[in-house]
Amino acid sequence: MKYSIFSLARAALSGHKTWQRTWRDATPKDRYDVVIIGGGGHGLATAWFLASEFGIKNVAVLEKGWIGSGNAGRNTTIIRSNYGLPGNTGFYELSMKLWERMEQDLNYNAMVSQRGVINLYHSDAQRDAYARRGNTMRINGIDAELLDLAAVKKMIPFLNFDNARFPVQGGLLQRRGGTARHDAVVWGYAHAASELGVDIIQNCEVTGFVRDANGKVTGVETSRGRIGAGKVGMAVAGSSSRVAAMAGLRLPIESHVLQAFVSEAIKPLIPGVMTFGAGHFYVSQSDKGGLVFGGDIDGYNSYAQRGNMPVMEDVCEGGMALMPMIGRVRLLRQWGGIMDMSMDGSPIIDKTPIDGLYLNAGWCYGGFKATPGSGFVFAHLLARDEAHKEAARFRLDRFRTGAVIDEKGQGAQPNLH
């Protein structure tokens, strides 16, 4: 069913009784050309690109709960392509370009809103690091501007410029960055993929892999029975190690809890996305009016999907340090997601050593913004058995060879990325 203001108006006449399911409630078939494990943004996007770009429509997406129940539904909704290292830069820009056409591609309004992302800097060293990164972006054809203090003041006059412990000196601005409505991205891909014939199967937990005599993966065991597959793609960030372990794989990944917070809805206050450079705080304001913000991961391995007070306090301290006008705004809700923290802070999209099994994992903080790009390059890998050029560095063996992509320079210490 085509969505538009006209279809809405028509449906209104019938009291909205004519709407169909946003995606079909599929029953698993015996076999698919490709089975994607994980009905989050990445898995659904992969399925949609397989169907729409690579002509592979006999595809199932298996979701153990409800689609979008993982990190797709618990992030801070930021999209950006302001990365500084080869591998990341091109990939995230590919993703950004796909964000820019997503709604028309999917016929679903995911509220992609390019209101800008600014990373504030507070020291010369930080400015220099942002200059290096911004120039990388420009060399890769990505928009970036280095703002000085006066320009920041003009753009965001309500920051603490007067008595800050670490005064703002300027910022790196990507105007094309912004936010998107995270749940709608999931529903949009589900809707569009389903229209192309992809089976989206909820409440279907993968419990094991089916292997042939050569060790090749030929299907999956699930809570809804065995499902055969030509190829199996894993897109289960947060659970990557657990699912990989069913195939006997150990990964360079740890699971950590990242908390996020939303305030009560208030009238528009904050124009785009801001990151504080002297503490752990980033914020945007949703269309509904809530300040959506977050900071660092709690710092210990966790699958609990909830965090503790020190980080919550640390994040709010950052917020108050940056903009003391939010003191009387109330925090409404806190939640936690499980981050697939890789050993260099960058993702892994690669074949695995097991024939027929493909891996999309290790998204760290970067998973949401990568959604369309990840889907596209993973679909490419699954369809063609070779890496898309913008994902060629996201190899699983890069830790063995040393060709790591370490934006933060923290090494094999996931909780510092």
């Binding site: 990964l251 360079p252 966790s302």
Partner: protein, 91 residues
């Protein structure tokens, strides 16, 4: 979270720093690149009880081996690192 330091007693999370899985053992000198790669990079990433290295940097500066459930955050044991020191107040 609160961790009972064997030397200091029960303390709040903010006094501790996390390093990670305590199970991998640093290979002996002369180990192959593959062995060291495994030690440095590969993780079981346990969903359940896991032995971990924590540092009581905001307290007595002892490194601790903490057994903690990553699903519930429940801590079932805390032992000092081999070289942390001899005397303990809390067994």
């Amino acid at each position: 979270m609160r961790i009972t330091c064997p030397f200091c007693g029960e303390r709040e999370l903010g006094e501790f720093t996390y390093l990670g899985d305590a199970k991998p053992v640093r290979p002996a000198p002369g180990a192959s690149q593959d062995e060291v790669y495994d030690y440095v990079y590969l993780r079981d990433n346990v969903a359940g009880a896991m032995e971990e290295n924590w540092y009581h940097g905001g307290g007595c500066r002892a490194w601790l081996r903490v057994t903690r459930n990553t699903l519930t955050h429940e801590i079932s044991s805390v032992e000092p690192a081999a070289g942390a020191g001899a005397r303990q107040v809390v067994k």
